[in-house]
Symmetry: C2
Subunit: 346 residues, 2 copies
């Protein structure tokens, strides 16, 4: 008999990001009672006196998360900050500070990094966030940005992914699907440009969706609005991966099911028009697209009166008992199961 | 006349890391009164109620900061945490939480990342630090680790780089130069191995200095010891770059000069012996080596009695008026100017 002497090698792609973090961080203990929440929400929560602090971090890698052939450096700096502020907002906290670390190959001169930082500064000034530290180093290839954002809230204000109850209303801010479609248009134009570098693209018909891709905004205004309306969501998450994936996170961590109504999903007219042009199903785009950085949350039914008629909010469904599962109710009134990549028919 | 249409391009190497951060972050305002300290110390400081929090972040890039041909992944994980905890300790604060983000190419299977995380976990368990978040993504090339560490202290306990006064004593913990020499030995063995892969190196004569390079410790014990001894340093920094560079940081930010006595610099016998073997000047190694992660601090003269005779501490000099400059007093009683890379003769 031969022994198998080959070391076990499991490729990371096989594992998937969520599972990977779970695998790598299992067995880590928390030593401090101030550490209220660890790795399984939009941000961690630390208690300091009777205030709580939320901490979140994101890593953006050239060629994986962004393509500099259509992403201007200033926009990239702005967006890198937004991605993190959005996570702070998704905890119903106010972003206060960020650290920014950068690794850049010698392809990037000082002027390029200054351009990147001008976007970071615009984000800091617009959102009143303080840059408090960071690290700058060289890399062997490409550009990498690592940002950590810190926010604050009273302990009673923090909203987790886990608080939704059956019958709570499922609500989304703004409209969705635009950022993903903007990316499709930019990818298309890149290919056109590679074939014919003299082509002069007219992108004015796509201005809204391209802006959604290149310059997303974190919904800090919604955190303020909740205070004004005296609404505290029962659960909340930001839409970075796509509506269906985010809904499933809320369901899983709140131990509920849900019904999502296809006809209620808020879409911008430009999203609908571009979907028709590209022969894409707008519901698929909304459910699977991602990068919209809108907020998805649940509220108790009695709070409906407080948000009713507010143009920022669209009620798109409601939570159910866990055993009922998570479903999309289509325009044709069919009930299909929601999965992370969209939905599947029975 | 021709116009110079070339865009200005300044290479980052020309600028240098400290200057680069200064250039990129100038013009950033602080909007929050809770943001006590920004980018120019070992860590940032945030006030929450009457406690203060310190935040620091570091980015480690394969091929720039570490070489996996002699750095085992478990050690790398441990060291990556230490580098950050050391910055927290250098503020006289107690490390409490970390976030860990990783970008890895498909060269790294799950098992490799698990090995890395086993080192991170050992560091968390040994130093009682909570892993509270992070991000895991793919990269196009190599491995990159970005860690943010958070620590706490009472506002009155925090020690900055800027508080030293003339006549304060300059003190260092442990001994220095070992980590750099350990690296030289590992580099040498790597070259031997490349020529003759069957060579069996006996590194037992270098065990201490190799451990200093591969498994440094953050001096959290010193932060505890300061409390016990009722000593509060007037300024402090950790030794990551080399003694002379760190001394100059304290002098610059405290607006003082200093006299450093060559004969007082604490060196381990293995450091002295290896320097002789490699024909290196031990003072040069101590001043320029780096990566020892010991603490360098100043205390008021009246506190000398509290640290006297404690084997953790060596008084290596004293601060002077700024106009006297920063100097090394050699064993031959010559006074030479300290520069970031060591010293220069007059």
């Amino acid at each position: 008999m031969f022994e198998n002497k080959e070391e076990q090698r499991t490729s990371i792609d096989q594992v998937g990001e969520f599972k990977l973090i779970e695998l790598l961080t299992k067995g880590f203990k928390h030593y401090h009672k101030e550490t209220i929440k660890g790795v399984d929400d939009d941000a961690a929560v630390i208690e300091v006196s009777n205030h709580q602090q939320v901490v979140t971090t994101d890593l953006l890698v050239e060629g994986i998360h962004f393509d500099l052939s259509y992403m201007p450096l200033k926009h990239l700096g702005y967006k890198a900050v937004m991605v993190n502020l959005s996570d702070v907002c998704a905890m119903n906290a106010t972003p206060k500070q960020i650290t920014v670390s950068i690794a850049a190959s010698n392809r990037f001169p000082l002027e390029a990094l200054e351009e990147l930082y001008s976007g970071i500064k615009l984000a800091c000034d617009t959102y009143q966030v303080d840059l408090i530290g960071g690290d700058t180093t060289s890399s062997n290839k490409g550009l990498l940005i690592s940002i950590t954002a810190i926010g604050q809230a009273k302990a009673s204000e923090i909203v987790y992914r886990s608080g939704a109850k059956p019958n709570d209303l499922l609500v989304v801010t703004g409209d969705i699907g635009g950022a993903y479609l903007g990316l499709q248009i930019l990818e298309r134009e890149k290919q056109v440009f590679q074939i014919n570098p003299k082509s002069q693209p007219d992108l004015s018909a796509y201005d809204y969706i391209i802006e959604r891709q290149l310059k997303p905004e974190a919904r800090k205004d919604i955190v303020d609005l909740f205070k004004k309306l005296e609404v505290k969501p029962t659960s909340m998450i930001d839409i970075s991966d796509g509506l269906s994936s985010e809904i499933l996170h809320l369901c899983k961590q709140s131990q509920t099911g849900c019904n999502l109504y296809e006809e209620k999903i808020p879409l911008d007219p430009q999203v609908i028009r571009t979907c028709e042009e590209l022969n894409l199903e707008s519901t698929t785009i909304a459910l699977s697209g991602g990068e919209d950085y809108e907020l998805l949350f649940t509220i108790a039914q009695e709070d409906y009166i407080k948000i009713k008629g507010n143009p920022n909010f669209t009620v798109i469904g409601h939570m159910t008992d866990k055993k009922e599962g998570a479903h999309l109710i289509t325009r044709a009134n069919q009930k299909v199961q929601l999965i992370a990549q969209g939905w599947k028919s029975f």
